[in-house]
Amino acid sequence: MSAILAAIVPDLDRYAGTVLGAYAVTLALIAVLVGASWSRSVRVRRALERLEAARREKR
């Protein structure tokens, strides 16, 4: 397993912290942005659907 990992993962040498840190920050910020956008989208859509259904029932 470690041999396979060693063959795939590049040897970043003394710059491992720099490269992995940059990728980690990027992926984390993108994940937060996508997650927040999706959850807000779902929340608003459900609230609108509930209100529209309630208005239809009233009529």
Binding site: Y15, S37, R45
Partner: protein, 242 residues
């Protein structure tokens, strides 16, 4: 058929609904291929060593930070001239995406700068104009939240967007205007002799395509949310009056 028909919220929702799953799938593919290719399959640079791999997150994020503001500028101008609400809402939806891209560019630039320049930060023309662009993003988002009337908010933020465009363009062209500073010249060029080596150029293009698609997918998703939110508030106001 006129393009302006998509300024109608109902038409916009009808058009973008089926597009979004395809766009999100393409975004995932391009990001995985571009970043995977850049991280796993590119060689070390003869000067920068393995740190060159930061290129594949830093450059696309910086590009999108500037282009997001330019997209907001176009949407703001459309709002000014034609008063289409969808364009104002699209500009509002793009701002947090652009701000996040600016943060990614600033942070990855600092992380990359420390081993290459010997410092996390310098008041270099490009870095400084990018930092000011980030402050404009924060101001733009705050202004939208601070003004209650949506049309007044759209007017005021559109003016702020016009002013901030100076810094968006400055961020893009600062390396041409001023030769001093730590930041190197552009990594991308139509001239093969002046852009980065082909080994880095191709995965960089795929990563950029991934970031562009991510931006488009996010802006469409968030614009749809803004349209729904506006309808929700309008219906809530009607209910309150009844």
């Amino acid at each position: 058929m006129s393009l302006w028909r998509y300024a109608n919220p109902a038409e916009f929702m009808r058009l973008t609904g089926p597009m979004l799953p395809v766009l999100w799938a393409l975004t995932a593919v391009c990001l995985v291929v571009g970043l995977g290719w850049g991280f796993f399959l590119t060689p070390d640079d003869y000067q920068q060593g393995a740190t060159v791999k930061v290129l594949f997150v830093h450059v696309p994020a910086a590009l999108m930070a500037i282009n997001a503001w330019l997209m907001m500028l176009v949407a703001s101008l459309v709002w000014f001239v034609r008063r289409h609400h969808v364009s104002a809402l699209a500009a509002r939806a793009a701002a947090p995406v652009g701000a996040t891209m600016t943060v990614i560019a600033l942070v990855t630039g600092a992380i990359w700068g420390e081993p290459m320049w010997g410092t996390w930060w310098a008041w270099d023309p490009r870095l400084t104009s990018f930092f000011i662009l980030f402050l404009f993003y924060l101001g733009y988002i705050a202004l939208w939240s601070a003004v209650e009337d949506p049309d007044t908010a759209a007017d005021l933020t559109a003016v702020l967007c016009l002013v901030g465009s100076v810094f968006a363009l400055l961020s893009r062209y600062a390396v041409f205007f001023w030769s001093q500073g730590l930041h190197q010249g552009p990594s991308l060029s139509m001239d093969a002799a002046s852009h980065v080596d082909t080994a880095f150029y191709r995965p960089l293009l795929v990563a950029i395509a991934g970031f562009v698609l991510l931006f488009v997918s996010l802006v469409l998703t968030r614009t749809r949310t803004e349209i729904r939110l506006r309808r929700l508030r309008a219906l809530q106001a009607l209910e309150a009056r009844a």
